[in-house]
């Protein structure tokens, strides 16, 4: 079945430093990739989505590029803000089954 790997469980940064959260995926079909952000006791909300190779969606200063060659969709931001502290999920949507598979999530903590 499909799988999504987020190598970092916990990332702690100082405000102003760059952010990079890793995401790689495995799927038998060309999936759609998403980044969702979840704040404590809230529902996950869409941060970014990508559909085609080399497209770079951006939202709230975050961006991610889908690289089919390396099956990656890493999340990046040039300068972390305190309000970015949250749980970030990378997810892969299988167009054949309609199933959205989440990674384990990365908790990002931004300190002053």
């Amino acid at each position: 079945g499909d799988s999504v790997t987020q190598t970092e469980g916990l990332v702690t940064l100082t405000e102003g430093l760059p952010v990079m959260l890793n995401c790689t995926y495995q799927s038998t079909y060309s999936p759609f990739l998403f980044w969702y952000v979840q704040h404590l006791n809230e529902a996950p909300k869409l941060l970014l989505k990508s559909f085609t190779d080399n497209k770079r969606p951006e939202h709230q200063g975050f961006h991610a590029t889908l690289h089919k060659s390396s099956s990656s969709f890493h999340l990046q931001k040039s300068s972390a803000q305190l309000s970015d502290s949250a749980l970030y999920y990378c997810a892969s949507y299988n167009t054949n089954t309609g199933k959205l598979t989440f990674g384990d999530g990365t908790v990002l903590t931004v300190k002053p």
Partner: protein, 113 residues
């Protein structure tokens, strides 16, 4: 943005009883989903539903689970009978089309005693 509502927000129930979790999806959406998140663990897909039918379900979607959306009303997840391991937060989501952005509800926190 589009809102998905879930009722109730919290439910405490005795093991073996039946529980129904209700989801009010975004009004024009066609695809519906349930996810399970145990405290401190990842979000896990349970089932998706389109055109009145289950399209795909995971191994977590046990025989005791069922979903339906009668007459375009709430999209429901029923667990009968409940077990201790069913304690979790259950999130409903909907999307206009398959592969579109899924909008999540706030979750129902289910505790089975």
């Amino acid at each position: 943005g589009p809102k998905v509502l879930q009722i109730p927000s919290h439910q405490i129930i005795d093991m073996g009883q039946m529980v129904t979790l209700n989801c009010d999806p975004v009004s024009n959406h066609l695809y519906f989903y349930w996810y399970k998140q145990i405290l401190g663990q990842q979000m896990e897909f349970l089932v998706n539903f389109y055109n009145g039918k289950v399209m795909e379900k995971s191994k977590l979607f046990k025989d005791q689970f069922s979903v339906e959306r009668p007459d375009g009303s709430y999209f429901t997840l029923k667990i009968q009978p409940t077990a201790l391991e069913d304690s979790a937060v259950y999130f409903c989501a909907s999307s206009l089309l398959g592969g579109d952005t899924q909008y999540f509800g706030p979750g129902t926190r289910l505790l089975v005693l």
